[in-house]
Amino acid sequence: MVVWTDQERAFIQDIFSKLNYEDAGPELYCRVLIVYPWTQRYFGGFGNLYSAEAIKSNPMVAAHGIVVLHGLDKAMKNMDDITVLKGLEKALKNMDNIKNTFTALSELHSEKLQVDPGNFQLLGDCLTVVLARRMTTDFTPDIQAAWQKFLSVVISALTRQYY
């Protein structure tokens, strides 16, 4: 059962508010496909992924990175809703939101995209590197701690509908 402190919530919202999705999204996906090349198996329709240069200049890679960041943005906006909450009224208000946000996405990744959930961790690690590069010393240990927690909750929610 995940409980977010006010500070953690603020940290995560702050990270996303400072992140330029149009810039970071492409970098994120370039890193995933270059650093963990076996992930290219899911992107057969993306055309030329044969070299680092090709990946970096591939517009479909760039566009998809932005899509994924918007997905994480949705997670951030529904942070309190990602799993069960304490407080009956909060649960009543938000439970259907969580279900819709993550059940649908999890089913999509499982049934339609058929992505091995191990890849979610790889993407998470690349995104952590992207953040570290951009925030440098602002990415303090306590911000990183909140961020890793957020990532593991998102990964868990995305994996939930696999069977």
Partner: protein
């Protein structure tokens, strides 16, 4: 997965830049490992102060990074070169090898935040491969 000539060159060039900042990198790496992954603190229960940036964390962080820098020079034979260190980790320290992944991740974070321009995707993949092979060499004597 083994290191190509291109990987070795990327690793050597990048770590030549990193070496002067070894103490800072070590501090960031170990501080984050202990703080973000508190289960790692179990190996340092004998320290007085496990908080980020403490003197013991700084000192030990440097030891670890110096170990990595040393491994850069041993890239052509990591298993052979790191045999003694492997025995240390296997028989004396008995660190669960799962933790090698954790410290590697935090080392990548430290490198990315201190060298944002140099830590390109190409350098990232070569360094990630290198660290994975160092971890494998360190685990060699475990069983």
């Amino acid at each position: 997965m083994s290191l190509s000539a291109k990987d070795k060159l990327a690793v050597k060039t990048f770590f030549d830049k990193v070496a002067p900042k070894a103490e800072e990198i070590g501090n960031e790496t170990l501080s984050r490992t202990l703080f973000v992954y508190p289960q790692t603190k179990t190996y340092f229960a004998h320290w007085a102060d496990l908080s980020p940036g403490s003197p013991q964390v700084k000192k030990h962080g440097l030891t670890v990074v110096n170990g990595v820098l040393n491994a850069v020079g041993l890239m052509d034979d990591l298993k052979g070169g790191l045999l003694t260190l492997s025995e240390l980790h296997a028989f004396m320290l008995r660190v669960d090898p799962a933790n090698f992944k954790i410290i590697n991740h935090n080392l990548l974070v430290a490198l990315a935040l201190m060298f944002p321009e140099d830590f390109t995707p190409e350098v990232h993949v070569s360094v990630d491969k290198f660290l994975a092979l160092v971890s494998l060499a360190l685990a060699e004597k475990y069983r």
